[in-house]
Structures are given as structure tokens and as C-alpha cells.
Symmetry: D2
Subunit: 443 residues, 4 copies
């Protein structure tokens, strides 16, 4: 959705021709299965849906490069060193990605020098004085079983030239960046500085966004775990609501610009009466507004469960968006959960309705949890794809899932805008049917 994509937006940059034979498994023996090496000519369609009545599939449908091991690679593993950096907020699965990167580099390719950069992009900047960590299979041991990031993280931009100075100074050939929108933009700036200097350093991102809002990417790691953890919290919040006469539970979930977690969690746990997401504006007051809805619901059923994404209802605040951003450049939202709690309370008091309101914000509990098994598998696949891509000299790109396949996507494509819920599509329709809320709460 949004601007028109052209095929050239989908093309991946390479550091140069691949002349080194991949040491990959299964290449030596004759009677063994011949594992599939992916060629760059292997393409994945960008859209798998088309309308036969309109223009059919079209002559030159958009297509992407498929991820996977290449028969010939760019870097000589014995002379290659890699660095891994994690930026932004926590998200389940970061440690699994780190671990899988290290194992794939070490065991699959024989890359022995792997540096862990501490506390995000800060770790490159001499002034902060954060030393590197040497990463090997022993260091990453069972970190996959724990949430968080063993490297630490930070928000915010750092001087790109200083970062590239650091990469040069330490002879780093490959930089893996695990982070969200801001991190990826930073990674692309690093890539451009590298290109400007004529260096041969590959920059490959593994998109990290608990909100699942990276554009053109179906699912980001940590998202499934987040929905999974949210689900019993919503179920039990329903107990809070039913446990009091005119009980009201408000659960704030993550979702700064996109309400995917809230929308999905609601479908898994059908006790919710309203879900509010950034993509759908709503009024508080007026006949069709939220307050009236809550009042009607309480009068009829005497309890109500509201799930609100953190970025919902920003139209309700008067503030200067240009100013309020966090260190990563994310717009800092007024706390809609607290705001709703206050406004609903006020309104009910004014209407002489005695109610009990419980406000629940499990955000840190969710994002700091370990990845669940299915997410862990996904983290492994992404990390492996990232290592294959980097060893083949691909750069300025991320790995991501599309059509249930891992593909390479250029960073500028995925950072051009945020992915949002299509409010006329199936997901949102299913949500509305699950909650039974009005299609619109705008007057």
C-alpha cells in the first residue's frame, strides 16, 4: 500500500562477484542428497494475489531475490570477521538471532572472529567506552532460552562516520544490525558511508519490531510470542472486569503506529468488547463515541473489556508531534491507556454510574520474555538467511518473510513507510466480528 513500487526498488546490492566456493554442507560427497543452493535468478513474486478480471497477473510482475545459501560466496571465511549489534527496545527472540548468527558463521562457514557490539550503535563510538565482546558458540551457549539481549541495546542515532571508522579500524567485513525502523535507516546510512569510502563491508539487517510494522514484511520475529503472552493476560483481565459490578478492564498493548498485536490478541481471546488501534480514529464524546459505547455496555452487561494499542487515539491529544520523540526518533505518545482511564472515570462519575476500572499495562513483561519455540525456529531461519546473504556479499538489505518464504529486501524499501492494518481488509473485519464493536466510533 502507499507509493507505487518498481522492480528496481526490489533489487539487492552486491559487493562484487562471488568467487569463493561455499563450504556448505553436502557439497563433497557423491551419494549424498544434493542440497539446494539458491541462485540469484531464483525469484519470489512480490504479490501472490491478482485479479484475473482486471489485468490478470501483468506482464512483468514484481519479484524479489530469494534467500538461501549460494554456491559461490564473496568472502573467504578464514579471513572474514563479523560484528553484531542490537538496537532499540527489547523484543522476544533477539538472543536466539544472536546465537544463530554466531553458530551459522562459526560452524557453517568457519568464520571465527565475531564481535558483539555493546549497547547498540553506542558500542562503536569511542566516547562511550563500551568494549566489544568476543562471540563464539560457548559464549552464546543457551542464551536462546532467555529474553533480552546479551549485547545490551540503546536508542538513538550515532555519528555514521565514527561507526564506519570503527568498522575499518577493526577490520570488520560484515555488520549484522538487529533493530527496527530507526536502526535500519542507520544501517543504510552506514552502508552508504561504506560505499562512499569504497570499502567492502556488507551490512545486513534482521528487522526487529515487536509491533510487526516493518513494511512489506509479513511477520517479524517476536510478534508471535507477544501475541501468545498477551492472550492469557486479556483472558484474566476479563476476570477483573466481571469481578466487579460495572467492572471495566483496560489493557494497553504495544503498537506505536500499527495495532497488529492488539488486533491479533483479540482474535485469540474472544472476551474483548472494544479494541482501539492507531489505524482507526475514534471520538471519545458524542453519540457514537467510546464513552457512550462504554456506558451502554455497562448498563446492559455490567462489565467491559477494552484493549488499546499504545499509539491509538493520538487525535485526542493536542501536542506538537515534531518535538516529542524518543532517542530513536519514535514519536512519543501521550499514554492513551491512562488517558482513557481518566476520561472514562470522569464520564461515568458525571453520569452517576459507579464503576470499577482496572488499568493493565503488560508491555515490559511481554517484550522482555524469551521467544517461544515457533518464534525461535523463525529466528534461526532469519539468522541463517542473513549469514548466507552477507557471506555472498549482499549489502544494504534485510532478510524478511514474504509469502511464507525468506527473501532479501533493500533497506530503503522497508523503511519507506510503516506497515499498517488494512482497515477494509480481512484482519480488521475479523476483529470487529470478534469484539462486536461498532465499525466506527466517529460521530
Amino acid at each position: 500500500m502507499g507509493r507505487k513500487i518498481k522492480q528496481k526498488d526490489l533489487e539487492i546490492k552486491n559487493l562484487g562477484p562471488c568467487k569463493v566456493t561455499s563450504p556448505s554442507l553436502g557439497s563433497t560427497s557423491q551419494n549424498m542428497p544434493h542440497f539446494h543452493f539458491v541462485e540469484d535468478s531464483e525469484r519470489v513474486l512480490f504479490d501472490m494475489i491478482y485479479d484475473a478480471d482486471q489485468n490478470g497477473l501483468g506482464k512483468n510482475p514484481l519479484n524479489m531475490e530469494r534467500a538461501g545459501p549460494r554456491k559461490k560466496i564473496y568472502f573467504d571465511p578464514s579471513k572474514t570477521s563479523a560484528a553484531i549489534v542490537t538496537c532499540g527496545g527489547l523484543c522476544p527472540g533477539i538472543n536466539v538471532v544472536i546465537r544463530s548468527l554466531v553458530l551459522a558463521l562459526n560452524y557453517r562457514y568457519g568464520v571465527k572472529k565475531i564481535l558483539g557490539v555493546r549497547y547498540g550503535y553506542e558500542g562503536f563510538i569511542p566516547d562511550y567506552g563500551h568494549p566489544f565482546i568476543d562471540l563464539d558458540p560457548e559464549v552464546v551457549g543457551n542464551i536462546n532460552q532467555f529474553g533480552g539481549t546479551i549485547l545490551g541495546s540503546s536508542r538513538g542515532k550515532q555519528n555514521v562516520e565514527e561507526i564506519v571508522d570503527c568498522l575499518e579500524r577493526n577490520n570488520i567485513n560484515i555488520l549484522f544490525t538487529i533493530g527496527g525502523d530507526g536502526t535500519l535507516k542507520g544501517a543504510y546510512a552506514i552502508h552508504e558511508e561504506i560505499e562512499k569510502r569504497g570499502l567492502k563491508i556488507s551490512v545486513v539487517g534482521i528487522p526487529k519490531t515487536i509491533d510487526n510494522d516493518i513494511n512489506h514484511i509479513e511477520k517479524s520475529f517476536g510478534f508471535e510470542t507477544s501475541v501468545t503472552i498477551s492472550s492469557p493476560i486479556i483472558r484474566d483481565a476479563h476476570n477483573e472486569a466481571k469481578g466487579a459490578y460495572n467492572g471495566l478492564a483496560i489493557i494497553k498493548l504495544m503498537g506505536r503506529d500499527s495495532g497488529f498485536i492488539a488486533a491479533n490478541a483479540v482474535m485469540a481471546m474472544p472476551e474483548v468488547n472494544v479494541v482501539l488501534v492507531p489505524e482507526v480514529e475514534f471520538d471519545l464524546h458524542g453519540k457514537k463515541g467510546l464513552l457512550q459505547f462504554v456506558k451502554d455496555r455497562l448498563e446492559e452487561k455490567h462489565h467491559c473489556v477494552i484493549v488499546v494499542a499504545e499509539g491509538a487515539g493520538q487525535n485526542l491529544f493536542d501536542f506538537d508531534k515534531d518535538v516529542l520523540t524518543d532517542a530513536s526518533g519514535n514519536i512519543l505518545h501521550e499514554d492513551i491507556g491512562v488517558h482513557l482511564k481518566i476520561k472514562i472515570k470522569q464520564f461515568l462519575v458525571e453520569n452517576n454510574i459507579k464503576a470499577t476500572i482496572k488499568y493493565i499495562d503488560p508491555s515490559y513483561i511481554i517484550r522482555s520474555a524469551p521467544a517461544n519455540p515457533v518464534d525461535s525456529i523463525f529466528c534461526n531461519q532469519l539468522a541463517l538467511a542473513a549469514v548466507h546473504a552477507a557471506m555472498a556479499g549482499k549489502t544494504g538489505m534485510v532478510v524478511g518473510q514474504r509469502s511464507d518464504t525468506i527473501v532479501h529486501l533493500p533497506i530503503p524499501l522497508v523503511t519507506a513507510e510503516r506497515k499498517k492494518i488494512d482497515v477494509e481488509g480481512d484482519l480488521w473485519l475479523n476483529v470487529l466480528e470478534s469484539t462486536g464493536q461498532p465499525i466506527s466510533m466517529k460521530n
Copy 2:
């Protein structure tokens, strides 16, 4: 601790002599095991620890009535009706207690008329207009698998005479109250009004306090579940702290007057650096204060995890304790978690220490969760003991665990004061050893 207890404080009131033969299992057949019926003469020692060097055990050691089925009971089951009311905040296991009460009354004794009182003591008062629910084994089906209370709850006192009017009007013979300190005081007032009117209605409480702070009772239901749920939240909060340079995680847990949940959760999850409980005052400022401790910790280790019980640090606030109470009469505390977050932030800014503070409050998530299996068993045992006691005409009492045994305790004894952590005892010592925090943070 506290005032001196006398044997008469431990004696249980009876509605009258027991003349009805209990329909209990196993009483009819000859070759069957003979299940043990408990006699009132079966006593449980109040203190199982004594000092042989001092006065030894003493001549007439304090002792309590043991819970369990009586051979002769007071009420004729076929003509008995019971009511169940749940008051105060949620706590894991309420539904298990309700279900077990209903099953024991129905299957074990053949009491078929069981009324569920809606929304706490409000449910007795005509003005609120909450109708009763008829409870039977089908209605309570699998409610044991869900948190909350199917009856609903409320806080606050209601007119005792109106409550007893309602009991009379509905021919209720037994009232089970599931609630905390305030609820039990209310139950005792009801009992006194019943006595005054010369009615034969048994009032038996099942103490509900997620804080585990009912006096003279070792463990209340829901407590183990609460510790169990807190534990991974603390583990993952540690990820938040380590995930940032100078990362600080503050987890607020329940514990209005007593810090048992905080203290126990910390022992289960050894990543915590300081735990703050209501029983131990601390200073913020000064050489030995919390702020200096946090600063030192950050400078040395660059991350810090603080667990704080909601009632801790009340000495830091200036407020009039007489005024600020909730509807149950609980003292309403300033939010110590938010207060600490602000104060620490301020202090670190003043000291030019860049830090990232994450504040986590999982209280509603914990109290609304279903009871875990071990807590469920415990709920069953308490409910069964309560039914046995009530059918035997015992009144003005609660059931509770002591010395790993279920006993009967008079309500005035358990509501005389709150149970608190002995700050010179083993539990607190173990906590200090687990966290490594200073013994005192008072200057």
C-alpha cells in the same frame, strides 16, 4: 508477635449440640476403611517451637481445634440452605473455593439449596438489586480453571442489620464469606448480630489475602500462585535492566502491609538487587539511602533490579493516614513504585548518570490469574474444612493452615492485627542473602 494470646482466644463458638449423624462416606460398611472423624477434643498445638532452656513447653500450651469431618453434625442437610459471598480484590483460587464449597455441600452432605451472593456484601442489600445465583455442581462446572470470581465482588462495609435481615428472609442457615481482613471483621459483626437476634446461622470464613498477611495463618490460598507468576516477570525484568547501559528495572508487587510476596518471589528468582517491604523502613537520601545504593550499583555493574511491595516506603510520603482508605478500609498508599521511579530518575540526572528506568506493575495480571494446581488442592482442603465446620454448627470462625494442618480459628484472633515479616527471622535473612542488599538503608 504482638499481644499475648490466651487459650480462650482460641476457642470456637458452637450454635448448639450436634445430634444429626453425618452422612459422610465410609460410615456404613463393615469391611471398609474407617475414615477418621475428628473430635473437638483433637487439638493442634498453637506453637510447635519452644525453648527447652527457658521454660520448656510450659504446662498448658496453647492449642487449637482441628478441622475435619465430625461424626455428629448440627444441621440436618435436607433442611439446610447455604450462601456464599466473595468480597474484596481478586485472588487466584476464589472460584476453586466456590466450586469446592458447592461440591462438598451437595455431594458430601446433600445440601441442595446453595445461594451465590453477587458482588460482595452488596448482594445482601435490597437497594443494590443484585439477584442471588443458584449454585449447583453444574453451574460451578469447570470454573476452577479460571481466575476471578463468578459471583463478583465489591469492597466496603454494608449495613449489618440489613445483611442479617436478608439471611433471615431467605432462611439461610450457613454463610460462607471469602474475603480478607475487612470482610472477616464484617463477618464477625454479622455473627454478633445473628447471636443478638438468637438466630441459628453459622458464619464461617475462608480467609482470602493475596498478601498472605492474615494473622496466625501460615499460608492463605492464592499466595503460592502469586509467587509463581511473579517469578518469571522478575526474571525477565532483569533482561530489561541488563538490556540497557545503566538499566534499572523496578517491579512493584502486591503487599499492602506485609511484603511476603515480594520476599518470596525474590528468593525464587535470584536476579534481584534490592527488595523493599513495608516492614523495613528505608531512606531515599543520605549515605546509606536507596539512591546512593542504586548509584553505586550502576557504577559498578551498570544494571540494577529493584522489587518493591506496594506498601513499602510509606514513611517517604507526607499524608494523613486517617483519611485515605479505600472502600474496604484499607489504607490507600501513594504509589511507591512511581515515586521511586521519579526520585531515582531525578537523582541520577542530578548526578549526571544516564540511565534507563523501566517500571513494571503486574498486580492485576497476578491476582486475576487462575490458581495453580497446588493452590487448587489447598483451596479444596480449605473449602472442605469450612463445610465440615459449618455443618457442625461452628460459627464466628475461619479455617486456616497452621503447622501444615487445617485448624479452626476465631475471627477476632485473626483480625486483631496483620501478619508481618519478622525482620529478625529466617525469611528476611534469606532474602538479604539472596539480594546482597545492605541490612539497613536508614541513615
Copy 3:
């Protein structure tokens, strides 16, 4: 893989032209979002990967019908009745599918008569005497939170004519069948008998296979939950192996013809040393055989973890495959887990290696568990798609996920053969890299 698919294999049958306007949400108001109704001309590509070097995408790429609500439907909801039947073994999520079918039929379309067929196809046959259950939103209440199937299930074929007699006799317009390969074949036979009789009854399947082995379908419901539950069991089995000198843990997982659960679980939990699946034959004896591998592993590391899919190693048994089938027609396998345990024990004894072998079979524990939240969402989506398809008069088909989209697929296509792990593809390669086992254990 397998036989060549033609476009006509992908075409869906319709009972007739759709003339009834769908009562779907959002169709009436002007200012509301216009929810997307899917046209039959909306197509999903069958393969989203192609080789630009070979023939490119090809002129007429295979394509499928997209699932979703149709603007015009075939059945008049007010005069429609539906039946739901569940067959074969348990799988997490069956109750979620049942519940979602009922809610979508009732709330979305207004279909009020919904019959639950008891114990699989048996429930249609008068001789068994199983009465129907009336299904409505109240009956399906919170069954989504429980494993199993409230309808009961059975294996085995039943007389197709008797089934269709029953459908006719009860004026059933839509039959939803939830089951695996055998069930779907049965459903297609029912559909053919319906066609033969000229009846207008829609037969729509929701494929249920915990093994995830339905052909051409990316993921079946219950699969993610199964992997999720297997994962900590494997982690802890590793404790059993390490807990003894020369400790060996053998975990048998589901996977009659395809080893997807075993392969995925292994990637989530990297403690496994060998995984054995039906798709890869192996020898026990000889230099490259499993026994030698185990011996070498024990001598080097003194513990070993083996995961084996139930259908693996069938080449090791001498038996007549034609005879040994269960009531569903599934080939009954010798128990490879027990066989391995015995053979390994024997071999180690012969080689004077003292070892401790633990055999773990969690199959029933996994398949009887409730669906996890992400699986629950998926069940909802499949059920909703099935209801949309059936109301539009589509028949002889299943709903399934492909390219992360729900599509309609004709039953004969998905039952033509089983989906298997591509042993030269990425999944298996990742598994081998995770375990480090030899590519082949055939001499």
C-alpha cells in the same frame, strides 16, 4: 513434488449461481469502511517461486481461488442448516474450529440450525445410535480454551449412502468435516454421492493433521501448538541424557508419513543429536549406521539425545504393509521408539558400554492439549473461510493456507498424496546443521 498439476485440478465446484445478498458486516452504511468482498476472479498464485533463468514465470501460471466473504451467496441463511463432524485423532484446536464455525454461522450469517455430529462419521449411521447435539453460541461458550473435541471422534469409513441419507433426512445444507486424509477422502465420497443424487449440499473440509502432512497446504492447525509443546519436553529429555553417565534419551514424536513435527521441534531446541524421520531411511548396523553413531557419541560426549518420528525407520521392520492399518486406513507402524531402545541397548551391551536409556513418548500429551493463541487465531481464520465458502455454495473442497493466504483447494488435489519433507531443501538442511548428525546413515 509428485505428479504434474494442471489448472483444472485447482478449480472449485459450485452448487450453483449465487443470488442471495450476503448479510455481511459493513455492507449497509455509506460512511463506513467498505470491507473487501472477494470475487472468484481473485486468484492466488500456486507457486510464488520461479527461476528467471529457466522459463521465467511461464505464460499461464497455476492459480487458486482466494478464500473470503462473497458479496452474493448461494444459501439463504434463514433457511439453511449446517452440520459439523470431527474425525480421526485429536489435534490441538478442534474445539476452536468448532466454536468459530458456530459463531460465524450464527452471528455473521444468521444460520441458527447447526447440528453437532457425534463421534465422527459414526454419528450419521443409525446403527450407532449417537444423537446429534444442537450447537449455538452458548453451547460452544469457552470450549476454545480446552483441547479435544466436544463432539467426540472416531476413525474408519462408514457407508457413504447411509451418511447422505442422514443428511437428506435432516435437511442439512452444509456439512463441515474436520479431519485428515481419510476423513477428506470420505468427505469427497459423500460429495460425489450428493452430486449423484442431485442434491444441493455443500461439503467443505477443514484439514486436520497434527503431522502437517496435507499436500499443497503450508500449515495445518494444531501444528504450531504441537511444536511448542514438544520443545520443553526435548529440552528436559536432554537433562535425562546428561543426568547419567552414557545417558541416552529417545523421544518419539508424531509423524506417521512425514517428520515435520520432529524436524521443527529440533530446530527450536538445539540439544538434539539425531533426528530420524520417515523421509530419510537409515541403517541400524554397519559403519555408517545409527548404532555406531550412538556408540561414537557416547564415547566422546557420554550423552546422546535422539528424536524419532513415529513413522521413521519402517524399513527396519519386516511386515506386510497391506494388512496393518488402523480403522482410518493409516498404516500401522511398528513402534520405532521401542524398537530403537531395544536395539541400542542390545548393541551397547554387546560392546560392553554401560548406558542408561530413557524412552519418552509424549504423543497423547501433545495432541490432547488446547491450541495456543497463535494457533487459535489460525483456527478462527480457517473456520471463517470455510463458512464463507460453504455459504457461497462451494463444495468438494477444503480451506488451507498457501503463501500466507487462505485459499480454496479441491479435495482430490490435497488427498492425492502426502506432503513430505524435501530432504534436499532448506528445512532438512537446517535440521542437519542444528543436530550435526551425518547427512546419511545408510551404508
Copy 4:
């Protein structure tokens, strides 16, 4: 139950007078809380229940030594070395105990030399060649989060003289043994050999029995976790039973000589129809036998859930008990679960009842799991008590919980016989009421 206990059976042996001042926390400062040091004269009553009608409490009631830190200790920490050994089968919490022993020795007392003995008593015997592991806070890091034992374990006796030779040779002052009945008997034999040689080595056991069958001890570590894990398995097995017409689920749980896990799990999960434990013999055949019960149940309800402890129904087998023991000396039982499955199947076939039987054995899954938080706290308390006791020179003893207090008990007392369910007591009565099974299934 069993033989008459005398006060001298409860007395603890000491290596000698305690002259070293304990370095315990809080001893130095004046304004600090004064932590309670336990004196040996502090006694815990052995029985807290007595009959006032009979002899009352008696003149000299049996009493035990209370666990806890002593002001004066026997060993000089700076010159003390300790060893830890784990024996027998896995049990949740072993690693927590190991970790807490190490932390308490190291941080609390300053004992720096701590040896981990590999693979049980084998680790002392030169012929096996298992080297020691040096244990310190870093080595035991987060092992509390994992099941199993990092030391490894083994079953079976080893030569006591060789063990004591090894203790002498390595200057070990304290031996902690974590194990069950056989292990403790072994520990006592070691203690006797030490005494015979006039050595000053303390032997302190932490009883490990997942079956909770150590005599005179209320609860052993790992037991709560086992009940907790069993519970959802039983809930879901009920789905298997209900999922088929005449569905039958048989769940075998641990419990060689005592059925505590089975009895407790059943109370937590009320879907069970029969529970079979070693303490209650039953007949298969005859009018009151199990087979007839199952038949009646199936005919009435069409499903049935049976929980059987592994040691139940041993009267049904003909075998020579003297011969069949495992390496630990435990009597090896015929597999009652498999036996029941076969016998029930046979019987139902003979009676022309078509049924589906599912047999579930989760034993290894349970015992290899990590301890839950409440069990972890308990493990900490036991380990700490064991360290205090050992440092005070106490020997030939175990720590254990009684009357909700940790006490010291002599090994011969706790190994004299196994703790069993009192089949005329409350626990069993509650079980019978939960399942509704006949009091006796003997003809």
C-alpha cells in the same frame, strides 16, 4: 505409623563442640536487626496434634532439633572444603539445591573449596575415573532454571571404604548427599565408616524423592512441581477419553511405594474417575473389581479416566520380589499401566464393548523438568539449613520440613520405612470424594 519412636531416635550427632564464631550476616553492627541464631535447645514438637480426651499432650512430648544458623560453628570456613553428590533418579530442583549449597557455603560462610562429585557415588570410586568438578558461584550461574543435575547421577551402592578413602585423600570436611532412601542409607554407612576411622567429616543429606515418601518428612523438594506438571496432563487426558465413544485414558504417574503424586494430582484436577495407589490393593476381576467398574462407567458415561501410580496393583503380578530390584535396590515393578491397558482391553473385547484406550506415561517428562518457583524457594531453604547444620558439625542427619518448619532428623529415623498415604485419613478421603470411586475394589 509403624514402630514406636523414642526421643533418642530424634537426637542429632555432633562432630564436637562448636568454637568458631559464625561469620553470619548481621552479627557485627549495633543498630542492625539482630538475626535470630538458633540454639540446639530450640525444639520443634514431633507431633502437633494430640487428643485432649486421651492422655493430652503427655509429659515429655517427642521433639526435634530446629534447623538454622548457629552462633558458634564447628568448622573454620577458611580451612573447610565440601563435596556435593547427587544420586538416584532425576527430580525437579536438584540443580537449585546444588546452586544454593554453593552460594551459601561461598558467600555466607566463605568456604571456597567445593567439589562436585560426578555421577553419584561412582564419582568417589577411582575405577570409574570420573573427575571432580570445582564448584563456585559462576559455575552454578543460572542452573536453577534448568531441570536435571549438572553433576550427573547414578544408582546403586558403591564400596563405602573406597568412598571414605576418597574423602580423606581429598581433605573433604563436609559431604552433602542429595538422594533418596538408598542414597541416605549409603550416606549413613559412610558416616559410620567415618566415625569408625575417627575422622571429623560431616555427612548431611538433603532428601530427594519425587514420590514424597521419605518417612516423617512432610514434603520433599520437587514434589509440588511434579503435581503441578501432572495436572494439565490429566486434564488433557480427559479430552482423549471424551474424544472417543467409550474412550478410556490411563495415566501412569510416579509413586513406587506411595501414591502421593497420584492422590494430589487427582485433587487438583477433578476429571479423574479412579485413582490406584500402592497403599490400596484392588482386584481386577469379580463384582467389585476394577474391570467391572470400568465396564459400568463406560456403559453409563462412555468415557473413563484412570490414574495409576507405578507401584499400584503389585498384588496382581506373580513375581519374586527379592530378585527384581534396580541398581539402587528399589523393587522393580511390573509395568502396571501397560498391564491394566492389556487387561481392560481383553475384558472389554470379551464383553463385546468397543472402546478406545489411550495409555499415557509422563514420568520422565515430569522428573526432568525445572523446579517451579515455590519449589525453588523450598530448595533454597533446605540447602541453607543443610549448610548451617554441616558448618555446626552436625552429621548423620538430613534436613526436612515438619510442621512447616525445617528440622534436623537422624538418617536412621527417616530410612526406617517409607511414608505412605494413610488410607483412613483426610487425604485419601478427599481423593475418594473427588473421584467418586468405590472405597474398596476388593471382592
